[in-house]
Symmetry: C2
Subunit: 221 residues, 2 copies
DNA sequence: GATATATTCAAACGATTGTTTTAAACTAAC
DNA sequence: GTTAGTTTAAAACAATCGTTTGAATATATC
């Protein structure tokens, strides 16, 4: 309720299938899978209820296709942001730059805010209420991302114990996912929280500083 | 499905109201609010469907009462664990001890595993799909806990900038909540994940070390 | 233009949801 | 034993869910 994006995609030049995907993505990440009905989706997309089953077979099918069109780009974007930092500054790799780049891509605070930020919320939901094949998210995104971070971290901190990379990545991702949660909480609670104001960029800078120090606790220097 | 705890509370010596609360708590944290039906709860508790509305007025009423009986004890437990560390070792307060104590109470890995661990899951869900009054969780648990950690951190690290305490607490809590998520993922996916084995205590020790270093990045020494 | 295929639509399907009803069973007080 | 109040029980409630149907419409192919 109070989303007032009903029919926001209606009359768009995109195809019915495209409108359904866009609309469903927004509703899924705002209200969750169970909280979003096919009737809601169809109404917001401005098309018939049956069209969901016509194009995607089922509600689950639509949910999976919402993910499928983002999983690979998402993974590639994260890996690319990691590799970009690693390629520049040939001689001396900067840990803070690596973390900041990863965090920005993760939270989506820089460009493409709406799309990336929505995906972050969707992913945060998927952690708890999974409606995807179990291995899908782990294999398609998590494992490749962790691998890329693994390589980058080992390159940046050569004397880092390899067994510590996974917990470190978990710590960084945990902070970032939590940042998305807090952001979502603030958006939903009408700014009447008794907590101080919340600037994503400030928090990201904190996470970078905090995590860099945490990582260096495992290095000799 | 495959929980096979149906009627696990049936025939218990507790009252119907108590059985409903216990059963609902377990189902809510495993399947979420929307994923748990009143019929599921009543069947598992071994009583009639109407009893939920008879004792709690509504499904939401039951959910709120599930929370209510734990919120204050939860808050007090966390604050107590913080204060306990701060009271002992009068002269020299140890940052690692503070973090470890807080983490243990948060994740519930030490004693009372089932109860505390279940609440952690429930809380992780509440972050995303809130079915409580907006201020309730923030006012009853988050704010008091943060305040206690604030005081303890300032006492342990006297030269810490006060404005950095909140982001630091967020970082620690973010890692802990994420740990609960990962644990839940492992439990639900039949141990077929391609990720290495996962020992909560090891991860907690990592979070302690990682966070202590992150915090000291803000102190002079 | 006729045919075949693809898409849209309103309507209904069966199942499940939270909730209410109505009566029976139980418990205690007098 | 009767009464009054509390608790349990089965059934039905209206609403909503995902899905399917079958006819109507649009689009393309020849």
């Amino acid at each position: 309720m109070a989303l007032d994006d009903s029919k926001s995609n209606a009359g768009s030049d995109k195809s019915v299938k495209g409108r359904l995907l866009d609309t469903a993505e927004g509703l899924f990440c705002e209200r969750g899978f169970k909280g979003t009905s096919i009737r809601d989706i169809a109404a917001s997309a401005g098309c018939n209820i049956a069209s969901v089953n016509y194009y995607f077979g089922s509600k689950e099918g639509l949910y999976e296709e919402v993910w499928h069109r983002h999983l690979i780009p998402m993974r590639d974007s994260r890996i690319a942001s990691i590799n970009k930092v690693m390629s520049r500054a040939e001689g001396r790799h900067n840990l803070e730059d690596l973390l900041r780049s990863f965090a920005d891509t993760f939270v989506g605070s820089m460009v493409d805010t709406s799309k990336t930020s929505r995906l972050s919320k969707l992913m945060a939901r998927e952690y708890i209420d999974s409606h995807l094949p179990t291995d899908m998210f782990v294999n398609e995104v998590m494992t490749p991302t962790i691998s890329a971070m693994h390589r980058a971290l080992m390159k940046t901190c050569p004397d880092l114990d390899e067994s510590k990379v996974l917990p470190i990545v978990f710590s960084v991702i945990g902070q970032l996912v939590h940042l998305v949660h807090i952001k979502t909480m603030f958006e939903h609670s009408g700014d009447d929280l008794s907590l101080p104001i919340f600037d994503s960029n400030e928090i990201i800078e904190h996470i970078v500083k905090f995590s860099a120090a945490g990582i260096r606790a495992y290095t000799g220097k």
